[in-house]
Subunit: 148 residues, 2 copies
DNA sequence: CTTGCTTCGTTAGCCTTCCTAACCATATTG
DNA sequence: CAATATGGTTAGGAAGGCTAACGAAGCAAG
């Protein structure tokens, strides 16, 4: 690869990063304004989904998975626990840590609530053709991988 | 299309919406933690970029473009104006409205700041192969279209 | 022209989510 | 056993979003 094409690639990738950033901001602002009726905010649903799909975790692990600091996760967990959507158990073998586990109710709410929250987005996506949908599916997977 | 495949498409689209939602949350949380050194937050850079690339707008138009309510935009504009990155002029022909215009300094800061902010993401994207990059480029464009 | 409704932007006040700093309690290690 | 490291919580504050209420300016009907 010569110097020119390397610089072109650099430029292209920077621009892509910028556009993904922008797209994310607008996507989330749009979704935030939709009333999901589940009573759970995006961060709560997101954290709960990690427990549902990823199994029991400690608070620190969950915070890392969700890209937030432990104090932020402490509050999210407190709320979810108060709503009966997860349980807090002592960690076997480490008295400092705790084990967080989604309850059956948590599983139920998650599946209902997430579907409702993203429903308006799904409505719009339905207008796309199959190739575009497939492109977005790959993109979602790629973003998840890149961020992790 | 028979009933079964229609339901499959529904399900697939709902799942896609859900994953895009999740990917956006994690992407932004990752980027928020990067120090961009420009002194401007994501909402500020995003609003400024609309003015730079889309030309002068009223406050209401800018708020609509950015998917926020006017009071939220009032604060963003006040900050950008205080930093000398945009100007506020009376609207010719409508005494209620104002015209917002990016300054040269605003243009300069935008190009420097955005590149810096998304730089760490760009670093990660560089590891992808060309087909994946192209997929993400299309995806960013699609998301922008779907949300608008 | 005046009265009343609408629209643009602002102010006031609140809520949510995130952060860092400081702190306990429990491991772990020299 | 003392010193240090780690997991989680508490305290406090910054940022960004919202609604409600308001003043000023336009508009429309009488």
């Amino acid at each position: 690869m010569d110097a020119t094409s390397a610089r072109d690639t650099d430029e292209r990738v920077e621009q892509l990063a910028d556009r993904l950033h922008s797209a994310s901001i607008h996507l989330l602002r749009r979704l935030r304004r939709e009333d999901d009726g589940s009573g759970l905010s995006a961060p709560h649903l997101s954290a709960l989904s990690v427990l549902v799909f990823g199994g029991p975790l400690s608070l620190g692990e969950l915070a890392a998975a969700e890209q937030v600091r432990p104090p932020s996760m402490t509050r999210i967990v407190r709320n979810l626990e108060a709503d009966g959507l997860l349980t807090r158990e002592p960690h076997p073998g480490d008295g400092r840590a705790i084990v967080l586990r989604a309850t059956d109710e948590g599983r139920r709410i998650l599946h209902e609530g997430r579907a409702r929250r993203v429903h308006s987005l799904a409505e719009r996506l339905r207008a796309l053709d199959p190739a575009e949908i497939e492109c977005l599916e790959r993109a979602a997977e790629l973003i998840g991988r890149v961020v992790r």
